[in-house]
């Protein structure tokens, strides 16, 4: 349910590329629960590693998450640089009407300094007298996922699967922001997803990038399309010498783009889309940037797999068939009303809708009543023209 990935200290993505650096103990896990982003710091947060946290804060804040929870339970130490980054993020969040919260700073792992005072400081600065959601009182990550904003808890139990898609889209927007903030040379990023049989951009860092993607859908070619459909990565190192996409390439160059890196997103092993990173600089994406892009794409894929598995294709087919049956019944009832009352299709819908609203019966049930009424009395009235 909760998305999670690790951003390594050296931004190389050691899980993907080789060469685990001396900072391998440090990591930040980002996860999302509704409108809250959680950054979990592991290891030493110091002047070497603080910029990584700063980049993540940038990404989270620019993605519009109003509330950020900084989880320092697994942080071994935090120095002045770490504090500066944290305080800076706190003031920016407050300026936007948001808040920064800390979780369980008073743990035995906090070796170097007592983080309690930091919690107090931020508490004072951000939350005033309302302390109940801060510090050690913070509950577990699991309980956070159950408090999606705007949805009362009792509805949650009724609906079962909640707006999972919102969480996924929010997280994909964050992946885009992360890609832009952490991949060297990146001037923009986007996520393409295959939805309802066609490709669409679900997150983009700016309008130029949306245009870039749209140009690919329009011409039917481009690295983003190939990566999305074929499930492998495509790298246009320099569009000046690019020959694979003759219709798309000139459009991209006219928008000032010189390099594109598209990494595939897979849901349960099937190609589902692509993470696209664009640069105005040719040859911008070397092995290091490719590794980071691959890591972000891997994490986005994990998210998609989790979301995808909540509704299997079979279930979807069943539901689509159910929707089709409903649609047919309603169309049939509309035909009956059109014929009986001499009204148009939309007016017939309005009549059914008011029926439904007044009786608190579903529109389908009302439509079924109308259809049944004709079958009992005039069997030869028949449905409207099928074609």
């Amino acid at each position: 349910m909760i998305a999670q990935w690790l951003a390594s200290a050296d931004s190389l993505g050691p899980k993907v590329t080789t060469g685990i650096g001396p900072l391998a103990d440090f990591g930040v896990a980002a996860s999302f629960a509704g409108e809250q982003a959680v950054l979990g710091v592991r290891g030493e947060l110091d002047r070497v590693t603080a910029p990584v946290l700063a980049a993540l804060f940038d990404a989270v804040i620019s993605s519009g998450y109003p509330s950020v929870l900084l989880d320092l339970q697994d942080a071994n130490s935090i120095d002045a640089a770490g504090l500066a980054v944290t305080a800076d993020a706190a003031s920016r969040l407050v300026a936007q009407g948001g808040q920064l919260m800390l979780r369980s700073p008073l743990t035995e792992n906090a070796r170097t300094i007592d983080l309690g005072w930091l919690a107090g400081l931020i508490n004072q600065e951000l939350r005033g007298p309302d302390e109940d959601r801060l510090g050690p009182e913070q509950t577990t990550l699991e309980s956070l996922t159950q408090t999606a904003p705007r949805i009362p808890p009792d509805l949650k139990t009724v609906t079962g699967t909640l707006a999972n898609e919102d969480v996924v889209h929010g997280a994909l927007r964050l992946v885009v922001a992360l890609a832009r903030a952490t991949v060297g040379g990146a001037d923009g990023a986007s996520v393409t997803l295959r939805r309802f049989g066609r490709l669409a951009t679900v997150a983009a860092s700016d309008a130029t990038i949306s245009d870039m993607d749209a140009n690919q859908y329009a011409t039917g070619e481009g690295p983003c399309i190939d990566a999305s459909l074929q499930g492998r990565w495509y790298h246009a190192e320099s569009l000046e010498n690019e020959t694979r996409w003759p219709a798309f390439t000139p459009r991209a160059r006219s928008l000032g783009i010189s390099a594109i890196l598209s990494s595939p997103l897979l849901a349960q092993g099937q190609p589902m889309g692509a993470l696209n990173i664009y640069s105005r600089t040719a040859m911008a994406f070397a092995a290091k940037e490719q590794g980071l892009a691959a890591m972000l794409a891997t994490e986005a894929s994990r998210l998609l797999s989790a979301a995808h598995s909540s509704a299997s294709d079979d279930q979807l087919t069943d539901r689509l068939q159910g929707a089709l049956r409903t649609r047919e019944v309603i169309a049939e009832a509309q035909g009956v009303i059109m014929e009986r009352q001499g009204v148009g299709e939309n007016e017939a819908f309005e009549i059914l809708r008011r029926f439904s609203q007044q009786s608190d019966l579903s529109l389908r049930a009302r439509a079924q009543d109308v259809v049944d009424s004709t079958r009992q009395t005039e069997l030869d009235l028949g449905p409207p023209e099928a074609d």
């Binding site: 705007r150 707006a163 919102d166 939805r195 066609r198 539901r319 649609r327 819908f349 809708r353 608190d360």
Partner: protein
């Protein structure tokens, strides 16, 4: 001119606990003719739905609210003074 429905509709969708896909399926079942992408554009206010489309969306949401024990909180187009 009708006001922009975008924000209201998408907030209602979230309140109803429906994903974009789930809402589209309900909208489609009620005879809606717009694609899922167009529906999203309506919800965000990027595209203005026709009066009929608006009412189909509103009814899809309202049926969900009725299932949850509510009334018809999403206004229909003819409810408004124009």
């Amino acid at each position: 001119m009708r006001p922009t429905h975008g924000d209201v509709l998408d907030r209602s969708r979230q309140d109803a606990g429906l994903s974009h896909g789930e809402l589209w399926l309900r909208y489609f079942a009620l005879g809606g003719m717009s694609t899922a992408l167009q529906l999203e554009a309506f919800l965000y206010g990027a595209l203005q739905p026709t009066s009929h489309d608006h009412n189909v969306i509103a009814h899809a949401l309202n049926e969900r609210f009725v299932e949850l024990g509510g009334n018809h909180p999403v206004p229909y187009d003819d409810d408004e003074e124009t």
